[in-house]
């Protein structure tokens, strides 16, 4: 469904991603883990069209989408729940959701608003509240609900549990599970590596802009060297 082929992305003088490749097949939940600063967010932002890769290509459902505007990718069925959620704090919950469904027809938008309210009952109770007043967990649910308004076939999630209380972390993991059961394809960046790898079909480990390991979620989670890779103690032996 998604094929990322050797993309390199730079911010000015910084090369944040070195020739990274990964693949997500339809129906899979793929986890992307690695220490902070490894380039996970850069990778998702590049796929979603916010950043343009310097080299390499990205294909979505067979079409080349390298460097395509995010607005067109949303229409093509690919949505990103960005890092730090980035909900619109000055907008109400309903307005956030309507904006999320801006690419849908008015009829579909109305239907999906209802679905969102059913899927996230907590949002229904805050329908006309400014999103700035939501708690962290509510805001995260809004961010996911907002992305779902465009009915994406591939959903990218960037650190969905960041800054959440432990009970809310459970809620988010349940949500990931449910989205997968709905048949959506998910690519998830998550700091809680152990847990997301248990849930994932496959995982990739990213470090200083390079994919350094890949395997089924269970394999990666069971790998004793995961922590060492995280903190970079073994990296020098491994660096190409």
């Amino acid at each position: 469904m998604l094929e990322v082929d050797q993309i390199t992305t730079r911010y000015g003088a910084i090369t944040a991603l070195h020739s990274a490749s990964l693949e997500v097949r339809a129906g899979e939940l793929v986890a992307l883990v690695g220490p902070n600063g490894a380039g996970k967010t850069t990778l998702l932002n590049t796929v979603a069209g916010l950043l343009r890769p310097a080299t390499g290509s990205i294909r979505f459902e067979g079409n080349d989408i390298t460097g395509t505007e995010p607005a067109r990718l949303v229409r093509a069925g690919l949505a990103l729940v960005p890092e730090h959620r980035r909900i619109f704090k000055d907008l109400t919950v309903e307005e956030n959701l309507r904006l999320g469904g801006s690419t849908a027809s008015a009829h579909d938008r109305r239907e999906r608003l209802e679905e969102a309210a059913d899927l996230f009952p907590v949002l229904r109770t805050k329908w006309t509240t400014s999103a700035g007043y939501l708690s962290g967990g509510e805001a995260q649910q809004l961010a996911v609900a907002r992305a779902l308004m465009s009915n994406p076939r591939l959903l990218l999630l960037d650190e969905p549990t960041l800054g959440l209380a432990p009970t809310m972390v459970d809620v988010v993991f349940d949500l990931l599970q449910r989205l997968r059961e709905q048949g959506r394809t998910l690519l998830v960046v998550e700091q809680n590596a152990t847990r997301v790898l248990q849930l994932a079909d496959r995982g990739y480990l990213l470090r200083t802009g390079n994919i350094v390991a890949t395997g089924t979620g269970a394999d990666l989670a069971a790998d004793n060297s995961l922590f060492d890779s995280f903190i970079g103690l073994e990296a020098h032996g491994r660096e190409a």
Partner: protein, 593 residues
């Protein structure tokens, strides 16, 4: 003694650069006026007074990066001040019978009137400048705009002093353009010198980065205000000489429109450097005159084509070269680099400071979110402490509390016996904590060496008790010697990081606080960064507190590691002890719920 020598050198350099620029302009002017005609002389006179006004604006706008629309208001004050003391007593008694402040019996010659105008303008402008320099964002620009309206109405309606809309005439006129040339030369020397002085360098630093400058001990207000006052002096000189060159003043001479003309001259040439201001004045004056002649004199409207020229030129420059035609290519800057002599090494051996940095029991809430819940850190003299933890653990918040950017609701920060709780960034820097920034905040338009020497100027005043190695030694430690004269913004990423480190070390701090010095670096680069940090810190005898995501880097560089999680200290100890702690692994990888 060396201070006097350095001052002389600066004066010589500024004078040389000014003389060269004046010579070029004079050659052009002579070529033009040799074609004959008194109108050509008056165009030169107009250009010369513009020239002084442009330099006046350059000193403030160019150096601080704060846009002002109000400078013309102060040129107007100077012009009227010149008139009320310059017009002979008999004529004044007729034109202004009710003049206040006992001015009816005051009369000065041309020099006296000019000095009087400058003093009056600096006093009035200086008070106004306090408001301008205190505000931030767009507010200063709006305040200057307000100044323009206030002065405009005063000039039109305070008839006892200004005779209202008709203006004042009978100011003794200057013979020829000689004094205007002298004024232009003086203005050039002042503008050049200002960029070489301590406070002028600080003003430039605030323009380059409003956050980094205070973090290196530079006070925004005093740097901006100093630039404002010097700028007022030049503006007053320009306004006064223009009044004396024309022999009259009226409210239409110094309007917003004339101010915009001066502003266009400044931005077209390149506002950051004096040479740019000169080029802009010559080009726009010449172009304006050319387009004026293209206009149809039958239609009375000689202003039409110049407006087209002004708008068109400004639009093209903004679209194609927003830094102005010259950008940073400055004659004085070139001279400065050519005459650079490395100061002799002091030969002092570095000693570690004697103060311990303690942040204890810090509490910070953002709304309902608890960012820090009693976390703290202690760094002893010369020690390297690493601060780690998963995303959202509170590392950056703790760092921001120590450096004065975030205010804590509970807890204390002390350096030795000095209380730093709630202190401002600028005072924290002067007390001896120098920081770097996660997203790089260099003075991009300045050279690599200038980035470091700027901080040395702060250190000379506030850190004189510490060993202060010269800029080139620090650049050598950071591996930047060969790039010393490059513009900082053109360095590659790793070198920009190292430059930020050298710049912070030039403050001769007790502690260097490094915010993710290796983010975005490859493993080889971050390995090299370990060496850079160590040699630079040793050179100034500073301890180090470092946040980084790269635990490999942290474990290699630190003597002691503090692990934060959810706003609290999760573990601390030697790198080996922290690595072996199962709690740490869990914090990083998450528990398997």
């Amino acid at each position: 003694m060396s201070g006097v020598n350095a001052g002389l050198l600066r004066l010589t350099r500024s004078t040389l650069a000014s003389a060269a620029l004046v010579a070029i302009v004079a050659a052009l002017a002579m070529a033009y006026t040799s074609g004959g005609g008194a109108s050509r002389d008056s165009l030169i006179a107009e250009m010369l007074s513009n020239f002084i006004l442009v330099l006046g604006m350059q000193v403030f706008i160019g150096n601080t990066g704060v846009l002002s629309f109000g400078h013309m208001a102060f040129a107007q004050i100077a012009a009227y001040a010149t008139a009320v003391v310059g017009i002979p007593l008999a004529a004044k008694a007729k034109a202004l019978p009710d003049i206040p402040f006992g001015l009816d019996s005051v009369h000065y010659g041309p020099l006296g009137a000019t000095v009087f105008a400058i003093v009056v303008t600096i006093i009035i402008g200086g008070i106004f400048g306090i408001a301008v320099s205190r505000a931030s964002g767009l507010a200063p620009t709006m305040i200057t705009l307000a100044a323009l309206f206030v002065v405009e109405q005063l000039v039109k309606n305070w008839k006892e002093l200004t005779r209202g809309a008709g203006g004042l005439s009978g100011i003794p006129r200057l013979e020829g353009n000689g004094w205007l040339w002298v004024g232009a030369f003086v203005a050039l020397v002042v503008a050049h010198l200002f960029q070489e002085t301590r406070i002028g360098r600080f003003a430039i630093a605030t323009r380059e980065d409003e956050l980094a400058a205070p973090a290196l001990g530079i006070r925004l207000f005093s740097a901006r205000w100093a630039a404002w006052v010097v700028s007022m002096g030049l503006i007053a000189l320009g306004g006064s000489l223009r009044a004396q060159s024309l022999g009259s003043v009226n409210p239409k001479q110094f309007t917003l429109d004339s101010g915009i003309l001066i502003l266009v001259m400044l931005v077209v040439g390149g506002m950051r450097c004096v040479s740019g201001a000169v080029l802009g004045t010559v080009l726009i004056t010449a172009g304006n005159e050319l387009f004026r002649q293209l206009g149809d004199p039958q239609r009375l409207d000689i202003e039409r084509f110049p407006d087209l020229f002004l708008g068109g030129t400004m639009l093209l420059v903004m679209l194609l070269r927003p830094g102005g035609l010259l950008g940073d290519r400055d004659l004085a800057g070139w001279l400065r680099r050519r005459t650079y002599r490395r100061p002799p090494p002091t030969g002092e051996e570095p000693r570690a400071g004697s103060n311990t940095l303690v942040a204890a029991e810090i509490e910070v809430h953002f709304g309902g979110f608890v960012a820090l819940d009693g976390a703290g850190v202690t760094v002893r003299p010369g020690e390297v402490v690493g601060l780690i933890g998963p995303n959202g653990a509170g590392k950056t918040t703790l760092f921001n509390v120590i450096t004065g950017i975030v205010h804590e609701q509970g807890g204390r920060v002390t350096l030795g016996d000095r209380e730093l709780t709630d202190a401002k960034p600028v005072d924290i820097a002067r007390a001896g904590l120098a920081r770097t920034f996660q997203n790089l905040r260099l003075f991009k338009n300045l050279s690599v060496r200038e980035n470091v020497t700027l901080t040395e100027l702060v250190a000379a005043r506030h850190r004189s008790h510490r060993v202060r190695p010269d800029a080139d030694t620090l650049l050598a430690d950071a591996g930047l010697t060969e790039w010393a004269d490059r513009q900082a913004g053109t360095l590659d990423y790793g070198n920009q990081r190292r430059l930020e480190l050298a710049r912070a070390a030039a403050l001769a701090p007790d502690f260097l606080l490094l915010d993710e010095p290796t983010s975005g670096m490859s493993d080889q680069e971050s390995q090299a960064m370990v060496e850079s940090v160590r040699s630079v810190a040793t050179r100034v005898g500073a301890g180090v507190l470092v946040i980084d995501h790269d635990l490999g880097f942290i474990t290699r560089i630190s003597d002691h590691i503090v692990v934060l999680n959810e706003g609290r200290i999760l573990a601390e100890g030697t790198p080996a002890a922290v690595r072996a702690n199962p709690l740490v692994a869990e914090a990083y990888l998450g528990s398997s719920a």
